[in-house]
């Protein structure tokens, strides 16, 4: 259960120490490995164990997310998990699931048997996924109900070939709803600690973990999601609209449709004694345009944003180095901690950034990026232009490549059979030679952060 304060001594006994299988990192290096998994996130962070005389170099491993969007899958997940097993020797100190989107957790469900064979010390989830928190539960139920309604509605409209079903906006909205679906199994496993006795912790902004999962020398500051009342009120997209639903016989029913008055009040403007105002056909269209359909797309986006904002944002502080893993946090989640005083202190010290939400527009506040790194920033973007062309955002990538003087890599630079290449105009252009301290693997990039 939730145990924010855990003592080191209790854990020290079952300290997980694993020899590194890769010779290129030693006791003075943190390695961040970004896998190309499609549209999704999978990061393995390896932190060196304090070297004692005579011992070999060894590392603790933290896995952050393992998921891919159904429409952006490039079929590498199998290999990715194999690689994780090989690198870690099956021992993971902390496994973090930032938020319950398909593109972050689908792997935990799909490859549940494999994960059950891992030796996992702790599982970290955002407090919003805590089944014992009544508020979290209420939000989850509401969001699930909304997602289901949207899914049905989009389906029904596609079936009857409604004009709204064939717009680029709708495609984007459908992909957002898909991302919310099919995550139950993964969540169940995560919450149960994969039935391997892993301790499950639900975390929220403001918590500070010292030597968590018995990782000596690591401090984790949890920067999101906030539990703040104001923030929570924004997690409440409304659901009073009407929805279409496919009926048993293939027909389409209107769900939630209200007829506010009995039929006797409905009047025909064509009849002789009607003397009220009448709209032209064009005026009616104008009015209808404002209504339901586009709004349901927006509702899908709102729901997507809400879920992204439940992202568990962790700042790793290890021997003076700051590494930020914001999951898919969007503006609302960021804003909370940027408003705290410590943000001033933290931002310039960040030396590694996992770019939030695959480099989308709303996920890296400009003024936060401007204040980051002070000339010492490296960044990784796990991204791909399928299923959403607008991701990653070009100007953001451009600015990032200027700011991150220690280098940026994008996962979609890795050529993989049948996987989409970056769009022609995307930034930054792929360099001939990787920046210093970046290494390329078969389906991953490594960043080696030297501690000395």
């Amino acid at each position: 259960m939730v145990t924010a304060k855990k003592t080191v001594s209790k854990k020290a006994a079952k300290k997980i120490v694993v020899s590194s299988l890769h010779g290129d990192i030693n006791a003075d290096t943190i390695r961040v490995r970004m896998y190309r998994i499609g549209f999704g996130d999978c990061f393995l962070i390896s932190l060196p164990v304090m070297k004692r005389s005579g011992s070999e170099d060894s590392h603790y491993h933290v896995l952050i997310d393992c998921g891919v969007h159904f429409s952006g899958d490039i079929n590498t997940m199998d290999k990715v998990i194999g690689n994780i097993a090989a690198i870690t020797g099956g021992k993971i100190a902390a496994l973090i699931a930032t938020h319950s989107h398909q593109d972050h957790i689908s792997g935990f469900g799909r490859f549940s048997e494999k994960f059950s064979q891992f030796d996992i010390d702790e599982v970290w989830l955002p407090w919003c996924e805590n089944p014992a928190d009544p508020l979290a539960l209420k939000l989850q139920r509401k969001h699930a109900a909304l997602a289901e309604m949207l899914d049905e509605h989009f389906n029904a409209q596609r079936t009857i070939n409604a004009p709204a079903a064939n717009t680029p906006q709708r495609n984007a909205a459908v992909a957002a709803v898909v991302n919310l679906s099919g995550n139950q199994k993964a969540l169940l496993l995560l919450r149960s600690g994969f039935d391997v006795g892993a301790e499950v912790r639900y975390l929220g902004a403001g918590e500070v973990l010292r030597d968590p999962a018995a990782i000596e020398g690591l401090t984790v500051r949890v920067l999101g999601p906030p539990r703040d009342q104001q923030f929570l009120s924004k997690m409440n997209p409304p659901k009073d609209q009407r929805y279409l639903r496919l009926g048993a016989g293939g027909g389409v029913n209107m769900d939630n449709a209200l007829r506010p008055f009995p039929a006797k009040w409905i009047t025909d403007t064509g009849v002789e004694n009607y003397r009220g105002p009448v709209l032209t056909a064009a005026e009616k269209e104008e009015l209808k345009e404002v209504l339901a359909d586009t709004d349901l797309d927006n509702l899908a986006f709102a729901l997507d944003q809400v879920k992204n904002n439940t992202s568990l944002v962790t700042l790793f502080v290890f021997r003076g180095k700051y590494l930020l893993f914001p999951g898919d946090a969007q503006y609302g989640n960021w804003k909370w901690w940027l408003d705290q005083e410590e943000a001033e202190d933290i931002l310039p010290r960040i030396s590694f950034l996992k770019v939030a939400h695959h480099g989308s527009h709303n996920a890296t506040p400009k003024d936060a990026l401007e204040r980051m790194g002070e000339g010492q920033l490296a960044a990784m973007v796990s991204t791909q232009s399928v299923p959403w062309q607008s991701i990653p955002r070009v100007p953001l990538m451009r600015r990032l490549s200027e700011k991150a003087t220690n280098g940026v890599v994008r996962s979609d630079w890795l050529a993989i059979d049948d996987a989409p290449a970056p769009l022609a105009h995307t930034e930054p252009p792929m360099p001939k030679k990787l920046p210093a301290n970046f290494r390329k693997g078969a389906f991953w990039y490594d960043y080696l952060l030297k501690l000395k």
């Binding site: 009120s233 009073d240 209200l258 009047t267 009220g276 009015l287 404002v290 927006n298 709303n362």
Partner: protein, 613 residues
């Protein structure tokens, strides 16, 4: 026998119509059924009148509901249809009556006929269309492009239905406060069309706050609702242990001391917050301890607007206490018990009367201040200066200290006007051009207005020319940029009668300039937006001072450089706004571009803001 000539009847001056003072969920409780005496006009079924056209078309169900005929004898004899949730014709009557009353209050306060901010319809008529059942949605909004107020209806939530039964239909058009709120959005838009542009954290928040302020005071000027609340709570304006002479000089502090949840005015104000749906911010801000830090933290338009509403409410409350202090003292001296349910009806009646009167004063002061606002990019602090200046111009003496109360309340809520040296009344009043530039502006001569009639179109054209010529010659002194063309957006004579019976005539003119400016100066090929500046001129028309520019309320355009704080602030805010919008994540075009060119960009903000996305 000679036929009676119908014209021998005088035209009635008003048309009584029944409405809910709150909304149907309050049932028949005292004070919830009320009659509005709507200024008389001939109306067609709808109702359709001079300013308003109620069209009961339901776009979700694609049907029309039977329109009410207010001229039907059966309707007229009853003073309008009885309040009813199930008869759409009553709904039409209510939106018509409440919106008409709101318009009347604006015209009274502004001293002129109001104008709408949207284009005329195909028949050349400029009427605000009202769709009382426009769609199934928990939302209501003003939309300039639709030239309409659109009210939604929706099933009461199964989970938190509040006072409604779960599953029952909730009609936003039956909430008195929502109707006033939305009508006010349309009315502000008619006076200041650029206030709908979100140029900074204050701009849309101001729109929201102003709409709430007008709704709040309209609410408070209904004596019956107040009376009921005062009787229920025992009129606990004073806590009993407070020495009535405490701190007579520090009204702000005194008012704070008197805030308690059982206070009828605070209760009514909170109830008002409830009526406006999920408006926790307003509910908690009204009658709460001011926190001057809130302005640095709250950016969502409703949350931020709540600070402004609360400041105005605090001032209202201080004045109310001042106006009723003697009454309370007399009552207490006479040994009257002031307990819930126990207050003497005469006292309750007097208290309600004072509250209603004070509410009307505040409503007028606030509406009048609109004329003294800059033409673009309003800040809360500008509004304070407008309030102080407008009220000073009309009521220089201020025996009850309305202005001092407003200043103190704004100060306590952390609202700091820019470029003023202190919170003194003198420092807060807008300046004449000579105070800013060191030399007086020459008089603006040749404006022609008819005191008794609205201007003819020839007069308007001529006046526009005169103004532009004048402005062109005096750009710098009036705060206008030297290069961009000047548009005279609106100019109108204002007639007001002060409490001393003096008739004041002034001309208020809005001059606006704009420049296409990149959203992001560091990004090559960045899309552009119109950065606007301008001045509101208040020009004296009193004999002997004709043409004197009393105030030039300026928002300078400036250059695109680091000195231009206004531009920097606006850019930062635009960035903030679209960063928070869920839709922009998956949009291919530049989100700012989308924001600026979307057909519905402006009104969309209301649509979405009111929905709470």
């Amino acid at each position: 026998m000679a036929k009676v000539d119908k014209s021998t009847y005088d035209t009635p001056s008003y048309r009584p119509l029944k409405v809910y003072a709150f909304d149907p969920s309050h049932g028949r409780s005292l004070g919830n059924y009320m009659t509005v005496n709507v200024r008389y006009e001939g109306v067609e079924p709808g109702p359709v009148g001079e300013y308003l056209e109620v069209i009961d078309y339901d776009a979700s169900n694609d049907c029309y509901y039977e329109p009410v005929d207010l001229n039907d004898a059966a309707v007229m004899l009853g003073g309008g249809l009885e309040p009813s949730g199930s008869d759409p014709r009553f709904h039409q009557q209510m939106v018509y009556a409440v919106a008409s009353e709101t318009i009347r209050r604006f015209e009274f306060a502004l001293g002129r006929k109001i104008k709408w901010g949207f284009r005329a319809d195909t028949k050349g008529k400029r009427r605000l269309r009202i769709f009382p059942h426009g769609m199934q949605e928990a939302n209501a909004y003003y939309d300039r492009d639709l030239r309409a107020l659109v009210f939604g209806y929706f099933p009461a939530s199964e989970l938190d239905a509040g006072a409604n039964l779960p599953g029952q239909t909730v009609f936003t058009c039956l909430s008195h406060d929502i109707i006033v709120h939305e009508t006010t959005h349309a009315l502000i838009d008619g006076q200041r069309i650029y206030f709908l542009e979100s140029t900074g954290p204050d701009s849309l928040a101001f729109h929201e706050a102003f709409a709430d302020i007008v709704a709040l005071f309209q609410h408070f000027s209904h004596k019956e609702a107040l009376l009921e609340m005062i009787q229920r709570t025992g009129g606990l304006i004073y806590r009993l242990h407070v020495d009535p002479e405490v701190n007579p000089g520090r009204e702000g502090a005194l008012a704070q001391f008197e805030l308690s949840t059982s206070n009828p005015l605070v209760q009514l104000a909170r109830q008002f917050g409830e009526a406006l749906g999920t408006r926790a911010a307003l509910r908690s801000a009204l009658g709460s301890q001011p926190n001057s830090k809130d302005l640095d933290k709250l950016y969502e338009p409703h949350d931020r607007g709540a600070i402004l509403v609360a400041a105005v409410f605090d001032a209202f409350f201080s004045i109310y206490i001042r106006r009723t202090r003697d009454l309370m003292r007399i009552a207490r001296a006479a040994g009257a018990l002031i307990n819930p349910g126990d207050i003497h009806p005469d006292l309750a009646n007097r208290l309600a009367g004072e509250a209603a009167k004070t509410a009307e004063h505040f409503s007028n002061i606030c509406i009048r201040a609109l004329d003294y606002c800059p033409p673009v990019d309003i800040l809360f602090g500008d509004f304070l200066r407008a309030l102080v200046t407008a009220d000073y111009d009309l009521v220089p003496a201020d025996p009850y200290g309305y202005r001092a109360a407003l200043i103190e309340a704004f100060r306590l809520r952390g609202i700091r006007p820019e470029n003023v040296t202190s919170y003194s009344e003198g420092a807060l009043r807008w300046c004449a051009p000579e105070d800013l530039k060191g030399m007086p502006a020459p008089p603006c001569e040749g404006l022609e207005f008819d005191i008794l009639r609205p201007s003819t179109s020839e007069q308007s054209e001529k006046n526009a020319k005169t103004l532009i010529n004048y402005a062109n010659k005096n750009r710098d002194i009036l705060g206008l940029s030297l290069n961009e063309p000047i548009q005279a957006h609106s100019f109108h004579p204002v007639h007001r009668v002060g409490p001393d019976g003096r008739l004041k005539v002034e001309v208020v003119a809005e001059l606006v300039q704009q420049r296409a400016t990149p959203f992001d100066p560091t990004e090559s090929g960045s899309p552009r937006f119109f950065f606007r500046g301008g001045s509101t001129l208040v020009i004296d028309q009193e004999p002997g001072k004709e043409g004197d520019v009393r105030y030039a309320i300026q928002k300078r355009l400036g250059q695109d450089d680091m000195q231009n704080e206004r531009l920097i602030r606006q850019r930062k805010y635009q960035e903030h706004i679209h960063s928070g919008m869920a839709q922009t994540t998956y949009m291919d075009e530049h989100p700012l571009e989308h924001l600026s060119k979307s057909r519905r960009a402006r009104s969309m903000t209301f649509n979405l803001i009111h929905r709470g996305y």
